[in-house]
């Protein structure tokens, strides 16, 4: 297939209907692994968080992590799923060196959580467009280790001179959330896919069961896509693996739609296969073919006893669920009196929790939003970091606003204060003190500066005396210069005019 033959996106969606499906893996943030007591911190030295169990040493046995089971049930409840009253782990058998036992302890036909749904919205010209994404199942399994292939050109195992395996990740609890095929999204398919993953991420974050950081791999997404002509049966799907950012989810769907349409237009056949997404080009390339399906020889895990969550306990968990992000957002939008458009900006900036915490620290909703979406967003963009990663806390933003409200610094100086806080010079009050930024409101000092300015500009002073108040600007400028900008310009103006009346 030559890329030059790719049809346009509008053309594709006018002739084909996409069906999307998403399989999302979420690493739970439990303190210990799924089946042993090893710690789960990200970024530890290779093979330092391992034991006989997660290394699959002969004779070792798994013990299920109750916290992981609880977290999975809570995710299921948040996704409106049926919670199984009785289910089992199953072994998924296949050989791969990053899997210590050469089987993965997972779940097969008895998932912990059955059918459910997640409501999402994508922006439209006339306000948000709602979609209900049907969930097939949510199950619990263990993560694999990580392989590092050294010496090859591709970083893949083929051609490598040496392969190293880090088992720190092996056995970390992993929740798999599988949607049913989602049809009827048309041209919005890429945005629906993105919005689903974003909403799922927010839901899971709100539950506090995972840090759901795509860039660290604690949320990983496989995107299934097929195309069919309107009214025809669904087409053969491809499965694009490990799409690791929201933007990539959107791009992967779009690029697969274009690729498949091009093949179908040429009378070709879509091959059921695994594909890899490339962040740099936004394209997918073929991985292994699934035409000869791997036989995983699933069977119930005999080393673990069945899970039978007490319905009363599940009801308790359900009653204790936090407000879900969508409901929460609706409430905030009303509280903050924002338009759909303004709310969308807040959401897109990932600023909701930051603004909430700033308000909680005493700022008004308006000022909190102003700082986070204004000056701080600008700084984040400049440095290419996430808003939440900026080295300034919501409490410090609230403190800054209270300095402005109290007349201690001007709005303009406040930006300099932010610079100091971001540079690690301390909190707003400390920066103001250290840099000597406090507004000069000492009347004595101001009066002296004004007298100096009048003395230095007698002609201007005369004009003001004559009633030309517009000429005051020159004297104000001189006073501001003398006070290194720390006087309140409005107060200076009033003092100058009063003095010359």
């Amino acid at each position: 297939m030559s890329t030059s033959t790719l049809p346009s996106y509008d053309d594709v969606v006018s002739r084909y209907e996409p069906v999307i499906g998403l399989e999302t893996h979420v690493e739970l943030g439990t303190r210990t692994k799924m089946f042993c007591g090893c710690r789960t911190e990200f970024g530890a030295d290779p093979n330092t968080q391992v034991c006989p169990v997660c290394l699959g040493l002969p004779g070792s046995l798994p013990v299920a992590n109750a916290a992981a089971i609880e977290a999975t049930i809570r995710i299921g409840l948040a996704l409106n799923c049926d919670i199984a009253e009785w289910c089992r782990f199953a072994r998924k058998n296949y050989f791969y060196p990053d899997m210590p036992k050469n089987f993965q302890t997972s779940q097969y036909d008895e998932p912990l959580c059955g059918e459910g749904y997640l409501d999402i919205e994508v922006p439209g010209a006339d306000g948000p467009i709602p979609f209900r994404i049907p969930i097939e199942r949510v199950h619990l399994e263990e993560d694999t280790g990580k392989s590092l292939h050294v010496g090859g050109s591709t970083g893949r195992i083929h051609g490598a001179t040496e392969s190293l395996v880090d088992y720190n990740r092996a056995g970390i609890p992993l929740v798999e959330i599988v949607t049913k095929p989602v049809a009827g999204t048309g041209a919005l398919a890429p945005e629906v896919a993105r919005a689903y993953v974003a909403e799922l991420r927010d839901v899971i974050r709100s539950l506090g069961v995972s840090d759901v950081r795509m860039e660290q791999g604690s949320l990983r997404c496989d995107v299934n896509l097929s195309l069919n002509k309107p009214g025809a049966e669904w087409g053969t799907r491809s499965e694009t693996k490990n799409v690791n950012s929201l933007r990539s989810v959107e791009r992967a769907v779009r690029s697969e739609m274009l690729r498949q349409a091009s093949i179908l237009d040429d009378g070709g056949r879509i091959v059921q296969e695994t594909r890899h997404f490339h962040e740099d080009s936004g394209d997918t390339t073929s991985g292994r073919s699934k035409e000869t399906a791997t036989d995983y020889r699933y069977f119930p895990e005999p080393d673990l006893t069945p899970i039978a969550p007490d319905p009363a306990w599940v009801a308790e968990l359900k009653a204790a669920m936090p407000e879900l992000p969508r409901v929460h957002r609706k409430r905030l939008q009303a509280d903050w009196k924002l338009s759909d458009h303004d709310m969308a900006s807040v959401i897109n900036a990932g600023a909701i929790p930051l603004i909430e915490r700033t308000i909680a620290a005493g700022a008004s909703s308006e000022s909190a939003r102003k700082w986070w979406l204004g000056e701080l967003s600008r700084r984040a963009n400049e440095t290419g970091t996430e808003l939440a990663e900026l080295p300034i806390t919501p409490a410090q933003v609230a403190e800054l606003q209270s300095l402005v409200d109290g007349g201690k610094v001007t709005d303009k100086i406040a930006r300099t204060v932010i610079e100091g806080v971001l540079a690690g010079e301390g909190g707003p009050a400390e920066v103001v003190a250290a840099r000597g930024l406090e507004v000069v409101s000492d009347t004595g000092a101001l009066t002296a500066a004004i007298d100096d300015a009048i003395a230095a500009n007698p002609a201007v002073a005369e004009k003001i005396r004559g009633g030309n108040h517009a000429a005051a600007g020159v004297l104000i400028g001189a006073v501001m210069k003398a006070t290194r900008g720390q006087a309140d310009a409005k107060a200076v103006r009033e003092l100058v005019i009063a003095r010359l009346s």
């Binding site: 040493l57 002969p58 004779g59 013990v63 058998n93």
Partner: protein
Amino acid sequence: MSDVTKLSASEIAALIADGSVSAVEVADRYLDKIAAEDGDVHAFLHIDADGARAAAAAVDAARAAGEELGPLAGVPVAVKDVMATKGVPTTAASKILEGWLPPYDATVVERLKAAGTVILGKTNMDEFAMGSSTEYSAYGPTRNPWDLDRIPGGSSGGSAAAVAAGLAPLSIGTDTGGSIRQPGAVTGTVGSKPTYGGTSRYGLIAFSSSLDTPGPFARNVLDAALLHEVIAGHDRRDSTSIPQPVPPVVEAAREGARGDLSGMRIGVVREFGTTEGAEPGVIAAYQSGVDALVKLGAEVVEVSCPHFSYALPAYYLISPSECSSNLARFDGVRYGLRVGDDGQRSLEEVMALTREAGFGAEVKRRIILGTYALSSGYVDEYYGQAQKVRTLINRDFTAAFEQVDALVSPTTPFVAFPFGSRTGDPVQMYLADLYTIPSNLYGGPAISVPCGLSEGLPVGMQVMAPTMRDDVMYKVAAAFETTQAALVAPAR
């Protein structure tokens, strides 16, 4: 001083406790005997003389310090090479684990150490516990002390032979389909399979996870119960371990030793009465064993367990299925043997060559059988059907135990057979476990107690009890033992 290698474990413990002999002397005596005689028997794969002497010295020191000693403190024990022993070679009698030093102790081993027993070394077995003769050890067979040209049973043949030959007063075996009881029977020793989940599997190199059960070998029922009590009990590291107190097995064995079974109902399984291939001498010895139970006051009745006839085929679907998955980890990547890693071959080739060289024929046979039984399109027909049979067998046992306190049968249909006589036909070998497999599928305890001789070779009586009623089993076994002359393998 009497020869400690001829004494029971409780007698040895008593001599150590009263200072008649030191634990180190006992250990040395056994180590000497092993050095002198194990060349013929080949019960051991690895002798841990230093570890044994150090453990014995610790017991002597504890005694000298006035500490209270446990009932088996200072008593030597041999451990089947399928149990992980920290820093001591553990191979499961397979080439694929040659040289592996586990970084941890199995729970059973931990408990043996905590009780002050002295681990002499690791015993031979069929590779990965798959076999009934120890002929499938990758390190050569163990010989039956009763006749060195015959098998000692299996898979725990080394543990059985060690006790029968007086190379250890106690040993640990594992039983998946009869691997403690059948070698116990053919070596004239007591071999006990506790309730599944009554002894921890943590550190037992898995063959068939839903069936594997560690248990004791001893020269008499009381010793077996004493060892049982040391190794049994709930273990948080094994999810299938039963969170209940250990049944009072030692007390039951002492009670049984009074030789009175009046008020007890004991069942004989009707369906076992018509076993093809059962040797007449075995059946005759067993029949006189049943008569002895009646003389002890027990009421013996016939019960029907109609699904027992499906136990063997169900077992040969479930256990290979589980083993095909359990043994997948032996791939040369992380430990043990690695073959063909020349920098040219692919990972898959190295894994395949390693497994080809590292596994023996019987292990491969079962991996292939299990892979097939679990494969898509066949899993319901084979693995699924076998699980249904398992449910039916559970029902048979449950119904039987509504009528009787315990069931008895011969342990195995034939006495120790000559080497090579059954290796040519796997099914002939598998028949050795015909009577023992039902208890594994059900999970209840079962024990083999010596029951006379046939053609000069030992016969075993099996006593089966309800799950977690290991005490009932020991009581019947201990009572039955009072009717039997002790079997001692001919000295060489």
